[in-house]
Symmetry: C2
Subunit: 331 residues, 2 copies
């Protein structure tokens, strides 16, 4: 996708996710010609101008700010948009009604995206006339930093819409992954929650404390999986026999862990809650996410650089070939 | 712990783990005065001299190599050791017999460590006279790069032994975590295997492919958890309401994912295997772990630097305070 001088993006919902998307679009070399923001909150303009700079961490932003348009109505917000992304409340009825209204006023070719972390596109689209244009584009928070976008279409979403959506994000150096079924929680959260459940279980048993568990993850699978995902990692762990070798060597322990996890009560009873919640509160108080995001950005920069390097070295068969193509100019 | 000019470390077992530990010790500013390696394989000396340099990736190693002693017998290997770590075959009887022999010939004060990923110290120590000195010191592979060490004592292990072991690793910039129960798979593997199970399940369902799943993890929770573990991350995700706020906001989805995971058949039937194994094999062939380890080391260097910086800034209450103190001189 070439840089399009006439690209209008509309964001509905100016919460944390919406404004983080705004920061991403405005700071990218392929920024839209116009970024429209719509939200029902009072004093929207003041709020946006005050809040948006927090996502920039001191970068120069005066130029890109001129592209922002604050819409006074939904109709005005969507009437000339090429892309419309909603990051509103997680409420099915609100989203259903929203898309009916959007459909009335938006251009026919506009792409319709929902940031929802849980409400499938097929349910959101139920009252629409044309159900082919809507899909979930679920970011990993915060989207102005994290590369992942889970694209979760409904069965009614057209393949062209999925393709155009992938193309848009790939051109911007992001990692859009097409999720083939409307699974509960999609994929990233499901994976993370599976680990979280086991983590809660181990803290509840007293095997480790909350900060010890965090340190374990930060010193082992965190950095490992930033570089190579679980399948690639265990495939490497099996030597020349690959993943199969890994299961031959250590499959017994894996199975024992899984059997043990099958007996986990987390989610069935509430006993764990006070222990885990109070430890977390006591140890971390309020986390400085600006600091966290700055460090995460540094790591992602290193990974971007390495992926660029390995792509140059041997196009198509390198360790890190599954890579973003470019990165935001603000990084 | 000050640099001890008279520190003799003995490594039993010269496989990948043993030699990776050797590389770590020899490349550290607090390197031992003598590093003894013992293994029953033939031509051990040639093998070690040939294989060890692979762990260094081109660093100058001539100096530290002079500290290596190849032992001709177990008795010779342990007789003047301060620390003895075994990284031998994962076989209970072999380990039991080994520790009985070690006990006969090693100094009384020597620390006895096992690298096992699955055989508890209490079982390994069963035939020993003094069961207070043995504990599991389980690395996250490869130990010359990854900071985590899971210290898993038996109920019979003395608190002093645990403390001395923690002190040893902390002084070397590593992250030794005391695991309070001899849980199956300890903690790191249990957490990773919980996620792996869900990953296999999603690939088996056809929701995503193996490389797509890896990309999802590499672009989201990998870099996130390298910087802040799951509890800290979700605590931040809940805003000022912390982890409790997180569960209030999204607890419904979390519970639905957990309920869904409860129906997972992975491990109960074998149907998933061919699908997952063949996809992994086809996509990744043989992973270049030298390249992977080099990139991981760069990420860990960034994290080390940031932790040092945040420690300077506000001792004791910073985002990244749970940090290694120093790092190997080879980094």
């Amino acid at each position: 996708m070439e840089y399009d001088p006439d690209l209008n993006i509309t964001l509905i919902g100016a919460g944390t996710i919406g404004l983080s998307f705004a920061a991403f679009h405005l700071s990218h070399t392929l920024s839209p010609s116009q970024l429209t923001i719509y939200d029902t909150r009072p004093n929207l303009k003041e709020y946006v101008l005050e809040t948006l700079p927090k996502f920039y961490h001191g970068l120069p932003i005066s130029l890109s700010f001129s592209k922002i348009r604050i819409a006074k109505s939904l109709q005005q917000a969507v009437s000339n948009a090429h892309i419309i992304q909603e990051s509103g409340p997680e409420n099915l009825q609100i989203k259903r009604d929203l898309w009916v209204e959007v459909e009335k006023h938006a251009p026919k070719e506009a792409l319709l995206w929902s940031s929802t972390s849980g409400i499938p596109a097929s349910q959101q689209a139920q009252d629409m006339t044309d159900k082919t244009r809507l899909l979930v584009v679920h970011p990993y928070n915060p989207p102005h930093i994290m590369p992942l976008l889970e694209l979760v279409p409904a069965p009614s979403t057209s393949p062209q819409v999925i393709e155009r959506t992938q193309e848009f994000w790939r051109a911007r150096g992001r990692v859009p992954i097409h999720i083939k079924q409307e699974t509960t929680g999609f994929v990233a959260n499901r994976l993370a929650f599976a680990l979280l459940r086991e983590a809660i279980h181990l803290v509840d048993l007293g095997v480790v404390s909350v900060p010890e568990l965090d340190k374990i993850v930060e010193s082992s699978m965190g950095p490992r999986w930033a570089v190579a995902g679980p399948f690639k990692s265990y495939h490497a762990g099996g030597g020349v026999a690959g993943l199969e070798g890994f299961f031959k060597n250590i499959g017994g322990t894996v199975q024992e862990c899984w059997d043990d996890a099958g007996r986990v009560n987390v989610g069935k009873n509430e006993g764990w809650e006070e222990k885990v919640l109070s430890q977390t509160r006591d140890v971390y108080e309020v986390v400085d996410t600006v600091e966290r995001d700055r460090v995460m950005r540094r790591l992602l920069d290193v990974l971007d650089e390495e992926r660029g390097r390995s792509r140059e070295k041997e196009e198509g068969s390198s360790l890190l070939k599954s890579a973003p193509e470019t990165k935001p100019s603000s990084d």
